[in-house]
């Protein structure tokens, strides 16, 4: 069968691209895959995700960090009868003061460039829901701000899971 001319524009996520990925990713896109695209990552959050025993302390989860470009974090509930109910609770900290928020509704969180955000951690999940990370830049960037965490919480995390990404260090 002849290959259709525009089939090249249809992308299916290939798990082989990121062998260390732990999340159930559904779709991924960035400038490396399609010239001109920004960074997008979409994955399921399933019951139990992020709720492992070793993360049972206040500031567990994806640690405080920034991105070079603005980011949109969509939390999308999947109940067709009540689509604004997330069906889950997510703890999110915003700003250098670690202001605490609990997300229980379908929403989008706007993260300006260089704005410190996270830890981000699901604390309960009644039904699977969809998390979308849309970045206004061409590729993923990240810089850790774990220095703002209490020492005891900081000492409990495996920092190799969240390396800085494409942020130049001062000479």
């Amino acid at each position: 069968m002849a290959v259709k001319k525009y089939a090249k524009y249809i992308y299916e996520y290939d798990p082989k691209m990121f062998p260390r990925e732990r999340r159930p990713v559904m779709a991924y896109m960035d400038n490396n895959l399609a010239k001109g695209s920004n960074f997008y990552l979409i994955h399921w959050i399933l019951p139990g995700f992020g709720m492992q025993k070793e993360w049972e302390f206040k500031y567990a989860g994806h640690p405080p960090h920034i991105h070079k470009d603005a980011e949109l974090l969509f939390h999308i509930g999947t109940d067709p009868e009540n689509p604004m109910d997330l069906g889950a609770e997510v703890r999110m900290y915003l700003g250098p003061e670690l202001e605490e928020h609990t997300i229980t509704r379908t929403c989008c969180i706007w993260i300006p460039p260089n704005f410190i955000h996270s830890p981000w951690k699901p604390i309960s999940c009644r039904r699977p829901w969809i998390f979308m990370e849309f970045n206004q830049g061409p590729v993923h960037t990240e810089k850790s701000y774990r220095q703002i965490l209490p020492k005891e919480d900081r000492a409990r995390m495996d920092w190799s899971m969240w390396p800085d990404d494409k942020y130049e260090a001062p000479a």
Binding site: P96, P112, P113, N114, I116, K143, Y145, R146, Q147, M157
Partner: protein, 70 residues
């Protein structure tokens, strides 16, 4: 207009050093902590700072809002 770093608010991330277009923010000291995070003590060199205001060009240029005018 003189610019300064509020050392009480500064998180020692060193981002300002790489972002300043005039290279006017310099590292005085650098310490790598046990979990691999490197922290930088920085200051603004008034001889190099041109007052271009880039460090106030968007709200979170400094993620700690530690740069002050005056």
């Amino acid at each position: 207009m003189a610019y300064k770093i509020n050392t009480k608010k500064c998180l020692k991330c060193g981002l300002c050093v790489t972002q300043c277009p005039e290279k006017a923010i310099v590292v005085d000291n650098k310490v790598t902590e046990s979990d691999g995070l490197t922290l930088y003590t920085t200051r603004i060199d008034p001889k190099k700072c041109t007052g271009c205001n880039e460090c106030f060009s968007f709200e979170w240029w400094c993620p700690a809002k530690a740069i002050i005018k005056g």
